[in-house]
Amino acid sequence: MSGNSSDAQAELIRLRRENELLREKLRQSGTQEGVGADRLSLPEYERYGRQMIVESTGGVQGQLLLKSAKVLVVGAGGLGSPCLPYLAGAGVGTIGIVDNDTVEVSNLHRQVIHDSGKVGMLKCESAREVLGKLNPNVKVVTYPVRLDYSNAFRIFEGYDIVLDCTDTPLTRYLVSDVAVNLGMTVVSASGLGTEGQLSVLNFQDCGPCYRCFYPTPPPPTSVASCSEGGVIGPCIGIVGVMMAVETIKIILGVYTKENFKPFLMMYSGFPGQTIRTFKMRGRQPQCIACGTERTITKETIESGIVNYNVFCGSRNYNVCQPEERISVSDLQDELLDMDTTVLLDVRPSHHYKISHLPHTVNVPMKELRNLDRSVDALQSRIPQITESSDVLVICRHGNESQLATRLLKDEFNIKNVRDVTGGLFKYIDEIDPSMPKY
């Protein structure tokens, strides 16, 4: 009995060692350089099994397509954050990330790939860390630069698909134009407030481009950013996740030249959640980027002949003379003498409710415009105001307040109006950091 038992013990040890060696061999076969894009290692089978058995992925062939795919993501913010982990998780072989922003606390409610410990870190590097941990098989390349006309081609070249997760019309035109010139498909999305939009552009170099949809840029005054207009994290997040779905479908060949129909998807989060798919125009022959007579070429972009700044324009807030402005420290002195001075806060009322200075009156810019230059009408909101009142105007950052200062002086004919330079946030930074910023 004791002899048998020690034999069994020795056998067990031998088997355990053999098992360990085999496991090690397997591990090495999974990570060694020899396993290229043309086949999958055993750990890769295990990792991607649950998606490979979804029949419409095409199984191993589909997984190999993902593995050899090169996807460039421009922007690691509200859209890029939720999209990137799904691309890496799915096994997209090469992922490029373009973003020169650093993580801020105010990003974290929606840009959940980053975290509180990464405030101040480059977003592209923060994202790279997360993706590396999620799936070490993925090659992540970072570009900590602001995409512009002079570097876009150099960055885009070599990628198959580009994801537009940017936040201005200027970059959206640029991404589309460069992609058209390189024959790349674009997955383009955007979001604001509780809504989002998504589209696939220049599909296989025959679908419509951004300029086909929007030949004329919107007036700069109509363009709101997330920091101005606000955004609900999961609402923009869901659109970012939808971008990952579209990207995977493009790589797997679910869309073909024959079955692809141009579309614009519209997600609304409030009051009920809906996703609608609008059927859109095809490529426009008269489009200057992708049409029959193209003026947007690599040469005209890179030489600066295509001037995106002029094309998209910008809002000019600098409309006050130095003597029409007051610094936040001088404002602090005037606050002691508020009996005669009117301190007018022109932010939207839901902003005002979050945080405001004492002794202020809130008349939002839009309402001010609606008062039709009438001091009488203004008195219904600010009883003590007259044309000879001293008025100080404040807003969030000191932009709208300049426009309001002009309005009050030039159209309401109130003589002594001054703009608080830098607005409430500068006051908080320099005078009273105990007030909430948002």
Binding site: S222, A224, S268
Partner: protein
């Protein structure tokens, strides 16, 4: 005398009292989508200042996409499209945030 639904999406509802969906019983003279756009500017938009958010040089402002029954109006004849009962005309401003 068509009954149509008009929607204002992508934040464009600010020009129509923050009401996203409007069910309209149109007067007889409103026949085409072009007529509807004029009707919206003159009747539905209460604040004259807001017309500039919706229109530019008499046409729908750049950055707003117009859809007729969920289809880009470019494919439906744009302003010329003749409205029918139960049509849904949607205007959505383009979002740029990311």
């Amino acid at each position: 005398m068509a009954n149509v639904t008009v929607e204002f999406l992508g934040g464009l509802d600010v020009v129509v009292q923050k009401q996203r969906v409007h069910k309209l019983h149109l007067p007889a003279e409103v026949v085409s989508v072009g007529d509807l756009i004029e009707y919206i500017a003159s009747t539905l938009i209460k604040n004259p200042r807001d017309v500039a958010v919706f229109l530019e040089d008499g046409g729908v402002r750049p950055g707003i996409i117009t859809l007729i029954n969920d289809t880009d109006w470019e494919l439906e004849g744009q302003t010329e499209y003749v409205l029918e009962d139960n049509d849904v005309v949607s205007f959505t401003s383009t979002l740029h945030g990311g």
